[in-house]
Assembly symmetry: C2
Homo-oligomer: 144 residues x 2
C-alpha cells in the first residue's frame, strides 16, 4: 500500500511547480507515473526522491543535460564514480568563473554609480560610462 499523491501535492512538497514537474516528465527526467481512473498522475516516494535530486542539481546550476547524465550514471552503480565527480568539478570551475566575472561587474557598477552627479541626464555618468569603454573586456576598436 504505497502512499501516492497528486501532482499538486508533489509540487508543494518539493517546492516546485506543477508545470515544472510535467515539463521534467516531458523531457524524460522524471519517469511517467501511474494514472488513476480519471487519468490523473499519481506519484510515489520514488518520484519525490528523483524530483528533489533534479531540483537540487538545478539549484546548483547544473544543466538538465548534466542532470540527465548523473541520473544515467546512478543507474550503473558499479561504475567508477569518476564521471560523476568530473561533472561536479566542471560545474565548480564554471561557478568560480561566474563569480569572478560578476565581481568585475560589481566594481564597474559601483564606480559608475559613485560618480553620479545627480544632475540631468545630459551629464549623467551612468549613461556616459556605458557609452564608453571603462574596464570592458570586449575586444573591439572604434572604426577610426
Amino acid at each position: 500500500m504505497e502512499r501516492v499523491f497528486s501532482i499538486g501535492k508533489l509540487a508543494t512538497a518539493s517546492g516546485s511547480k506543477v508545470e515544472t514537474i510535467r515539463y521534467y516528465e516531458s523531457i524524460g527526467l522524471l519517469p511517467e507515473p501511474e494514472r488513476n481512473a480519471g487519468n490523473q498522475r499519481r506519484y510515489t516516494a520514488r518520484h519525490y526522491d528523483r524530483l528533489t535530486f533534479i531540483l537540487h542539481a538545478r539549484d546548483l546550476g547544473l544543466s538538465t543535460e548534466a542532470v540527465r547524465q548523473l541520473i544515467d550514471l546512478s543507474q550503473h552503480p558499479d561504475m567508477p564514480c569518476r564521471d560523476a565527480d568530473e561533472i561536479a568539478r566542471r560545474q565548480l570551475d564554471d561557478v568560480r568563473q561566474r563569480i569572478a566575472r560578476l565581481k568585475l561587474l560589481e566594481a564597474e557598477l559601483e564606480r559608475t554609480l559613485s560618480s553620479c552627479s545627480h544632475g540631468t541626464i545630459a551629464e549623467c555618468k551612468v549613461i556616459e560610462a556605458l557609452a564608453q569603454c571603462g574596464a570592458c573586456e570586449r575586444h573591439h576598436r572604434p572604426p577610426r
Copy 2:
C-alpha cells in the same frame, strides 16, 4: 562625407555578430540604417556608438528592456539623472545577490567534491549529496 560601413565591419569592429546586430534592429534597440542600392545596410559612427552602448550594458547584465529604458532616458537630456541612476542601482543589487548565491553554490560543490571517495557510483558522494538536502534553501519537506 560620412564614413559608412557594412554590417560585417560593424560586427567585427564592435566585437559582436552580424545576427546580433540585426536582432537588435528587429527589437528596436538599434535604429534602422540606410541601405545602399543593393539593399544592404550601411552604418555610420552613430550606429557604432549606440551598439557599443548596448553591448556594454548587456555585458554588465542589464536586460534589453533596461537598455531600452536607458536609451529612452538619454533622449531626454534635461531630465534629472535619478532614473538612470536607479536602473544602475537596481542592477548592482541584483549582481550582489547573484554573487552571494553563487558563493553558496561554490561552497556546496566544494563540500560535495571533497568527500568523493573515488569508489563506484553506488557510494558516490556527488550523487548522494544531490539526492539529499545539505545546505539547500529550497523549502520543502518529504511527504512523510
